[in-house]
């Protein structure tokens, strides 16, 4: 129980987010209307993805430094759950864009780079599995760890440098004190924490499964 307090916190926060997300008043801007509430569920996907992919990259580098296979297992688990959150962020964005931007896939640079980054990450996960020799998998990872890390996050790829339909690009305001309504932030921040903790929870489950599956190799 004492060790699991953060799982309870995650569930409590998400309950608050789901209820509060539909109850707090949001400013009605343009054709966004009540679809603006999507921000409470769409944005945290990316925050959780960043966190998990960061865990993945850190563990990859850690593996390279120590040659400890458990690090590699952690990296692959975090990568897998990170992609799950990336896919969810992409799908939710597609639905929202259909009814506000007027197209499921539009030529928005952030949407495009995300699609490419996710495609590369999935290709990596597929390729990784094609190595039957467990010792070769990390060897392949070595080549991809460093090339992957920066482009896994479209926002970091071009922060405020190009025009985008997303807020916080070159010509539109970002999320600062002046341009985000207080009621939105009241739900958005708990949502970031709640969904990130949920992602880490799923990551630990997958990691525990992987460690069990590879028990003989890791400890033998």
């Amino acid at each position: 129980m004492a060790k699991n307090w953060w799982k309870i916190l995650s569930v409590m926060l998400l309950l608050y987010v789901i209820i509060g997300g539909f109850m707090v008043p949001v400013p009605v801007i343009g054709n966004n209307q009540q679809a603006a509430r999507s921000i409470f569920f769409h944005l945290p996907m990316w925050m959780a993805m960043y966190t998990l992919l960061t865990i993945s990259v850190v563990n990859s580098i850690w593996y390279l430094a120590t040659n400890d296979l458990r690090r590699d297992v952690r990296a692959s688990s975090a990568g897998s759950v990170g992609v799950l959150f990336g896919v969810m962020g992409f799908l939710t964005g597609m639905l929202w864009a259909t009814y506000t931007w007027g197209g499921t896939i539009v030529n928005d640079p952030k949407q495009m780079t995300t699609a490419i980054a996710l495609a590369i990450y999935m290709a990596y996960l597929v390729l990784r599995m094609s190595f039957t020799d467990i010792d070769k998998r990390p060897a392949y990872r070595r080549s991809i760890t460093f090339s992957r890390s920066p482009s896994s996050s479209p926002d970091l790829h071009h922060p405020r440098t190009v025009d985008s339909l997303h807020p916080g690009s070159a010509s539109s305001p970002g999320f600062s004190d002046k341009d985000t309504a207080g009621t939105i932030k009241m739900v958005l921040w708990p949502a970031f924490i709640g969904f990130t903790l949920l992602g880490i929870w799923i990551y630990t489950l997958r990691n525990r499964y992987k460690r069990l599956a590879l028990k003989n190799i890791i400890h033998g």
Binding site: Q34, A35, F40, F41, T92, L95, V106, M122, M129, I202
Partner: protein, 85 residues
């Protein structure tokens, strides 16, 4: 199993990317934006009703289904592992 799912997702994503790169950026978005409120169809009307609140509901449904799918797959893998022993 995982391979197949990843491959199909990959294929869909690649398709989306290639179709979009054929368009002209700004004009395509503007065109789409001007069209959007005139579209008809039951699904479109549903999502636009009640100030588009169902878009947010739909997004929650997507997130819940994806997480559930992932957990079901993990569940199956663990079952397989248990049977091996």
């Amino acid at each position: 199993m995982v391979n197949r799912i990843s491959f199909s997702l990959l294929a869909v994503l690649m398709l989306l990317v290639t179709t979009v790169f054929g368009q002209d950026t700004a004009s395509a978005v503007q065109q789409a934006a001007t069209q959007q409120n005139t579209e008809t169809g039951a699904v479109n009307e549903f999502f636009r009703s009640n100030s588009k609140i169902y878009v947010a509901v739909g997004i929650l449904v997507i997130i819940f289904s994806c997480i559930t799918l992932y957990l079901v797959r993990l569940d199956r893998k663990i079952t397989r592992l248990e049977k091996e022993k």
